[in-house]
């Protein structure tokens, strides 16, 4: 049973890596109709959330992290996961947000950043080994507001 659980855990970890540690999530385009957001001139806004996560050994050695680089040709976030590279910083999240806004010809309202760090000393599965592992996450949310004219 223990081996089965470990195999399932390994598969889940691999799936998580494959699906990427960087995400961009949008609200449905018309979900905020009837809602007036201050600073949008009563234009219909769309909520966007950008998130990147990194896992570290001893808080300084990156194991893997999310990739928010912008692909200029596809006009989208590269996405995915980079191994042994630390790409989790405010600049990459901010850059992703600005690139999304520019590509959609939108301005931004209510931009907020959020960051958190988690140590795995507590989970019983890891025991003390968990204390060597850390997770760092930086995210941002904002409202995309269409511009009247392209800049």
């Amino acid at each position: 049973m223990k081996k089965l659980l470990l195999a399932a855990s390994g598969m889940a970890a691999a799936l998580m890596l494959a699906s990427g540690c960087a995400t961009v999530t949008y609200s449905s385009p018309r979900i905020l109709d009837e809602v007036s957001i201050k600073g949008t001139d009563n234009k219909l806004g769309q909520l966007v959330f950008v998130d990147t996560t990194g896992f570290y050994l001893l808080w300084s050695l990156p194991i893997f992290s999310g990739d928010l680089r912008w692909d200029a040709q596809k006009r989208s976030i590269v996405g995915g996961t980079r191994i042994f590279t630390d790409m989790v910083d405010v600049e990459s999240v901010q850059g992703a947000l600005l690139n999304i806004a520019e590509s959609l010809n939108c301005d931004l309202v209510d931009v907020t950043f959020h960051d958190s760090d988690v140590s795995f000393a507590e989970p019983s599965y890891f025991g003390l080994v968990g204390a060597f592992l850390g997770l760092s996450r930086i995210s941002a949310s904002a409202v995309l507001v269409p511009r009247a004219e392209p800049k």
Partner: protein
């Protein structure tokens, strides 16, 4: 097998829920530009997925018939309703309750955590907050094109 089933059951019965609250601003204290908010809105919704993609259980959005504060343990099995859209559905319900559809400082955060279960079960959490303002009488109804 019991070691796996019991924690999942515990999550379904106790840990997976949603919470929403709208609190009236009972003061003349102003925010950034001299505006006095009408109320504060917060909502959070949780869901759990086996191996990160198989839905186990979820909370639900705040809708018609709920109380002023929803602290809901009405867990729905095998679904995932913890989404930004559902939080905005809760927001719209709160706006209807308060009687104003003008907001500021809208913010959302999404957190995924599966390390606690050695990647077996992912806990997905979506939180949304904003301040609700009084309707601006000079403002027209929201109009315009949605972003693509």
């Amino acid at each position: 097998m019991k070691k796996l089933i019991y924690p999942i059951l515990a999550i379904a019965l106790a840990g997976c829920s949603s919470y929403s609250e709208v609190a009236r601003w009972k003061s003349d204290v102003t925010i950034n530009d001299g505006v006095v908010p009408l109320a504060t809105f917060v909502t959070q919704n949780f869901s759990y997925q086996l191996l990160g993609f198989i839905p186990l259980c979820t909370g639900r959005p705040w809708t018609e018939g709920d109380d002023d504060i929803m602290d809901d343990f009405n867990v729905r099995p095998f679904a995932d309703e913890a989404t930004i859209d559902n939080n905005l559905v809760s927001l719209k319900y709160a706006l209807n309750k308060v009687g104003s559809h003008r907001i500021t400082q809208l913010r959302t955060t999404i957190d995924d955590d599966s390390m606690w279960s050695l990647f077996l079960v992912n806990r997905h959490e979506v939180r949304t907050q904003c301040l609700i303002l009084r309707e601006d009488p000079a403002a027209q109804a929201p109009a315009g094109k949605a972003t693509p």
